[in-house]
Amino acid sequence: MSSSTKNAKNMSFISLIPSVWFGVFLLFPILMTFLMSFQKRGTYGGVEWVFHFDNYIRVFDLIYLKIFWKSLLLSGSTTLICLVIAYPLAWALVTLPQRTRSVFLLLLIIPFLTNMLIRIYALKVITAFDGPFIALLVQMGIEVDRFTVSQNIWLVMYGMVTTYLPYMIFPLYAAMDRMNFSLVEAAQDLGACPRHVLFQVLVPNTYKAAVTGASLVFIPCLGEYLIPDLLGGAKSMLMGNLITEQFLKARDWPFGAALAMILIFLLMIFIFLSSRSKGGASGKA
């Protein structure tokens, strides 16, 4: 009896750690940011303690709205591309024999575990102004504008897709692996053609994993600032870059805070929608 209460005490102490962590490193900074977003930029940087909504009003400037829209578009298309690539890839993986499968999984995991900065820098070097990619194009006699090729939105998208693709593949792979393969055979046996099998058996049974994968790709993409910075240069400023810039260069912390709050708000909407669509699916399955 006494040992069990002691145990319970220990347990409650242990379970306190994540709450404290959560409070100190997540809730508190968000609260700070939230408060700061209503303040005013100091003349020499820093913050002036007043309460106003000017920062939020400024966000509705066309320049910023365009950046928001571009970020949403880029993250959305990255997510979509990842889904389109990952779905057949995950399927191919689960239908491979066990041994070859491990090899391919390893090939996916190694770049995934390689530091993102290194990977993106490598890509930057390869496609740089005077890098090997452009040299190759020139060698092949293709006339290019060096500046457009070395830094553009497509490169940013390429970087984003390669970085976040594994986040889409792994949940899909896990779901397909868990799925009883005889369901596919059963569908074929009942007369289903490959399209039927895909849309009436595979998709409904892996739908939740796809939503999970989409969240895992979309959410970090929307806040991404490193990839657009390194591969897109000044031309592809996204929300993440805008916020970083406010804090580090423009020294307008309150405006940066307001932008950050809006980003968080957008993400919360997305998370809410995705968890609702998952809940809806589980109600049916």
């Binding site: 005889s182 055979e185 059963a186 046996d189 009942l190 007369g191 289903a192 058996v201 409904p204 049974n205």
Partner: protein
């Protein structure tokens, strides 16, 4: 009008799993494929359904070669060992799956689904999801989903092996009843000889890819064609008589405290165990020539059973009429 398998050979890598197998299955037959685990039953069934392609040989339905026809166009339906019910669909939707693909009109679908559910006594379960059903119910839904398209042949791969004994006995009767009602061919795979015996019109016994014997349960039991079928189907005692193995069913093996009649072949032995089974006693006797045999003694024979104590010297014998002797293979 029949399903004919002609000289089917199937290899996986270098291992031959089905060896030059020929079979004819009649319309409306309840046909069982019986054999120990790994003998190639599932592979044979998957070749019939079109999931595997034979390396050589033909599968003919009413004289038409099925080899080039993909599985989704063959008039067969498979009942999977794991049931393979679609977890995201209700029982009713599972049954309707095949009909919808065939673009059956809506009213007809719902009518046929109702009929099928009625046949398996599960009308109230139409809107339930598979995960809320018991094993036996899943089993029945899987069977109904297969027969609702009115296939020519239903292929069942050990459909009862995941059920507990009581449910299995019940489902044996139920499946047989469904088959009689629908009057379609059932090809039923099992490794359980009792199951094959109670359910089938005919049984095909397989061993390591070879077809050992095809006949009715009664014929297979009373006149097995080889040593493998003899000992695989039901119990067999093995005696050695003038250097040859002689197979005798326990119910044809006699035990006695006094010497046997002269027209019987007899051996002396010692009772080593007796088990009461209700209608019969199983009496185990170790022969003085070596080996243990089992004899059945009617439990009405109370006086005799009292004398047959463990350790008692007895005579065991059989009539040549019931002896099965096979060429050694």
């Amino acid at each position: 009008m029949a399903l004919i398998l002609k000289n089917i050979v199937k290899k996986f890598n270098s291992q031959t799993v089905v060896q030059d197998l020929s079979l004819k299955i009649e319309d409306g037959e309840f046909f069982s494929l019986l054999g120990p685990s790994g003998c190639g039953k599932t592979t044979l069934l998957r070749m019939i359904s079109g999931f595997e392609t034979p390396d050589s040989g033909q599968i003919l339905l009413d004289g038409q070669d099925l080899t080039p026809i993909p599985s989704n166009e063959r008039p067969f339906r498979m009942v999977f060992q794991s049931y393979a019910l679609f977890p995201h669909l209700t029982v009713g939707e599972n049954l309707a799956f095949g009909l919808k693909i065939q673009k059956t009109p809506k009213e007809e679908i719902s009518e046929r689904v109702e009929n099928a559910l009625n046949l398996i006594n599960m009308l109230d379960y139409k809107n339930r999801f598979p995960e809320t059903l018991s094993g036996g119910q899943c089993q029945r839904v899987a069977v109904a989903r297969a027969f609702i398209n009115e296939p020519r042949v239903l292929l069942l791969d050990e459909p009862l092996s995941a059920l507990d004994k009581k449910m299995r006995d019940h489902m044996q009767t139920e499946l047989r009843a469904i088959q009689r009602k629908l009057n379609i061919t059932f090809i039923f795979v099992t490794h359980d000889q009792d199951e094959a015996m109670t359910m089938s019109d005919r049984i095909a016994v397989m061993e390591r890819g070879y077809l050992k014997q095809v006949s009715s349960p009664h014929e297979m039991y009373s006149s097995p064609a080889n040593a493998f079928t003899a000992s695989f189907l039901g119990d067999m005692n093995v005696f050695v008589h003038s250097g040859q193995k002689v197979f005798i069913r326990p119910e044809r093996t006699l035990v006695s405290l006094s010497p046997m009649a002269s027209d019987l072949v007899s051996y002396s032995g010692e009772v080593i165990n007796k088990l009461f089974k209700g209608v019969f006693w199983d009496v185990y006797v170790r022969l003085s020539t070596g080996g243990v045999v089992k004899c059945l003694v009617d439990s009405k024979n109370e006086d005799m059973m009292e004398d047959l104590t463990i350790g008692k010297e007895v005579q065991v014998g059989y009539s040549q009429v019931y002896a099965h002797v096979f060429e050694t293979e």
